[in-house]
């Protein structure tokens, strides 16, 4: 009897809306404050210190000097340019091919769902593994890619062995892995298109091309922006593929911002300086984020 009463008190506490509201949010809040918010503030704090991992006791507070050094650092500027080119190249390629394939696969035919399933495989694979395998496939002397190019009568490229072709190679590999993402999104977008506008335009005698530019594109705009936005941010943060395929080289040809930051932190142990680079990266991404969300909000 006593036990039952106790139980009832507990259930009635758990039945109060206010209790559930805060009790349920609490575990996530505690974990994220401890593991995300606090470490982030610690990162900001470190970015203002001359903190080197090998001599932690000497870390003096130096204000924004790390940030000034970041902007004067020619390798950082170079890595920013490399990253920008990588994002631009990879996202453009992925979007054009992915959208094109989504259009081709839009009308179902025999085997189309199997083809779609096959085309989506690359994005499930472990990125580090993808990078390593392509290092093998793009080998200039025994690689499979050059073999096929030579079969077709070409000479083959240097790929990741050459300073001028390495970034291009990395873009192609990223496109191999992530074009399926655009395909998946645009396929969903195309399937959700309303039919009425197309019926109306058929009466007006519009061509397929006119339909595409005056109906499909404007209706799909939110989906297109979403796809570009997700890919652009993830491409900006790229690390795994490049780390395993080129390690940032040859020389600094494929040194992206994240890779450079990793080097500063774990090869030179300059944690304070590395923190300033990381914060700069966060600022660039959040500027991009607010910019995009402003565009999408005003259009939807």
């Amino acid at each position: 009897m006593e036990g039952l009463k106790k139980f009832n008190i507990w259930t009635s506490i758990l039945d109060s809306k206010k209790v559930i509201k805060y009790l349920f949010i609490a575990p996530s809040a505690i974990i994220l404050i401890a593991l995300s918010i606090y470490p982030f503030l610690f990162l900001v704090y470190n970015s203002l210190r001359d903190f080197v991992l090998t001599k932690p006791k000497q870390a003096a507070f130096i204000g924004i000097q790390n940030y000034i050094a970041v902007f004067k650092d020619p390798i950082f500027t170079h890595s920013l340019l490399v990253t920008a080119l990588f994002v631009l190249g990879a996202v453009t390629l992925e979007f054009l091919i992915g959208f094109g394939l989504a259009i081709i696969l839009n009308k179902p035919f025999r085997g189309s769902s199997l083809i779609r399933a096959i085309l989506l495989i690359p994005m499930m694979l472990t990125p580090v593994v993808v990078g390593l395998q392509w290092k093998f496939l793009l080998n200039s002397s025994f690689g499979l890619v050059n073999y096929f190019i030579r079969l077709l009568g070409g000479k083959g490229l240097e790929w990741i062995g050459s300073y001028n072709q390495a970034l291009f190679s990395a873009i192609l590999v990223d496109a191999w892995q992530w074009t399926p993402f655009i395909l998946l999104l645009m396929a969903a977008g195309l399937r959700s298109l309303p039919t009425e506008p197309y019926e109306a335009s058929a009466i007006d005698g519009a061509s397929a091309l006119q339909n595409f530019f005056y109906l499909t594109l404007p209706i799909l705009k939110p989906v297109i922006l979403l796809a570009l936005f997700f890919r652009a941010i993830d491409a900006f943060k790229v690390f795994d593929i490049i780390y395993s395929m080129t390690g940032g080289g040859p020389s600094d040809a494929t040194m992206t911002v994240t890779l450079y930051d990793f080097r500063i932190d774990f090869e030179f142990f300059k944690i304070g300086y590395g923190a300033a680079i990381a914060i700069t990266e966060v600022i660039i991404i959040s500027l991009f984020l607010t910019g995009i969300s402003r565009i999408t909000r005003s259009r939807i």
């Binding site: 259930t11 758990l14 809306k17 559930i20 509201k21 805060y22 949010i25 575990p27 996530s28 974990i31 994220l32 593991l35 995300s36 470490p39 982030f40 610690f42 990162l43 470190n46 394939l101 083809i115 399933a117 096959i118 085309l119 989506l120 495989i121 499930m124 694979l125 472990t126 990125p127 580090v128 593994v129 390593l132 395998q133 290092k135 093998f136 496939l137 025994f142 073999y147 191999w176 998946l184 999104l185 969903a188 977008g189 989906v223 979403l226 997700f230 941010i233 943060k237 690390f239 795994d240 780390y243 395993s244 990793f262 944690i271 923190a275 990381a278 990266e281 966060v282 959040s286 984020l289």
Partner: protein, 285 residues
């Protein structure tokens, strides 16, 4: 008559073009994968022969030596434990928070945006301070650096925000009236959650778990920085095949198949859930 014929041939040529494009796309997608799988069954010297060898007697040497020279099974176990634990915690904790946000509007739009920005945080900005903080934690036998527990916790920084955002979207779609009706019928709040909300949103919960599993299984940078030797996961272990003497291609490709195969098999069954995970539910299929 003539015009109709013209249109027909135009349609036919468009279809041919489509077939050609799709064939090229399938070739580019599958050729690398097929080639890597073939390589795993080749004797080591044949790996570097030019032109490439297509016909050979398949052997298992690469798999055997990959498992013999390295504790791959241990890394495999580490990956499984870390992946499943972080996913389980994220789903439980995340669905509670999602319920609070969905039904009581906790945190409003601002909380949603905060969670979204946690998803877009560059991994390096999360893992450097975690590394420093974890290095200081030392509670007797409990370590967070070079431990599976530390990695499980670190993955929560990504998996929890994603889980909350996704699950909130799924909960939002289930009409609140259903739970209210149960409450009127004398059910408790918890009863309404367990008997009505959770069963109805099961597909959404599965989708969220799928996303956490694939992300955690494939994750590299956190694991590279927070684990070492004993506690490494498979993606970190595979970089071990890049040695001072060069890359051990044969063993490396064999190990790659070991990493990729589980997710590949798994993802065939769950492909339809992927889209909501990748876009945080902004677009649903």
């Amino acid at each position: 008559m003539k015009m109709r014929w013209g249109r027909k041939s135009k349609n036919a040529s468009i279809n041919v073009l489509k077939i050609v494009i799709l064939s090229i796309a399938i070739f580019i997608t599958l050729m690398p994968i097929v080639w890597i799988i073939l390589t795993t069954f080749k004797p080591e010297p044949m790996t570097f022969v030019y032109p490439p060898v297509w016909k050979f007697k398949p052997i298992l040497d690469n798999y055997i030596s990959a498992f013999k020279t390295r504790p791959l099974l241990k890394y495999f176990t580490n990956s499984v434990i870390v992946t499943l634990s972080t996913t389980a915690i994220s789903i439980v904790v995340g669905s509670m928070a999602a319920y609070s946000m969905s039904r009581f509007g906790t945190g409003g739009k601002r909380l949603g945006f905060t969670l979204l920005s946690l998803r877009f945080m560059p991994a390096i900005a999360v893992v450097i301070p975690l590394f420093l903080v974890f290095s200081k934690v030392n509670l007797g036998s409990l370590h967070l650096i070079n431990s599976r527990l530390g990695l499980i916790l670190a993955y929560l920084t990504f998996n929890i925000p994603v889980s909350i955002l996704l699950l909130k979207g799924f909960f939002d779609e289930i009409p609140q009236e259903l739970e209210e009706a149960a409450l009127v019928d004398g059910s408790s709040h918890m009863g309404a959650i367990f008997r009505i909300l959770l069963p109805l949103s099961l597909p959404g919960i599965v989708a969220t778990a799928v996303f956490c599993i694939i992300f955690s299984w494939n994750e590299f940078l956190f694991a590279l920085i927070l684990t070492r030797a004993e506690t490494a996961t498979l993606p970190v272990a595979i970089m071990g095949f890049v040695t001072d003497r060069g890359l051990l291609w044969g063993e490396m490709t064999a190990a790659s198949v070991v990493i990729v195969l589980p997710v590949l098999i798994f993802s065939i069954f769950v492909q339809r859930y992927l889209i909501s995970g990748l876009t945080l539910g902004a677009l649903k299929e």
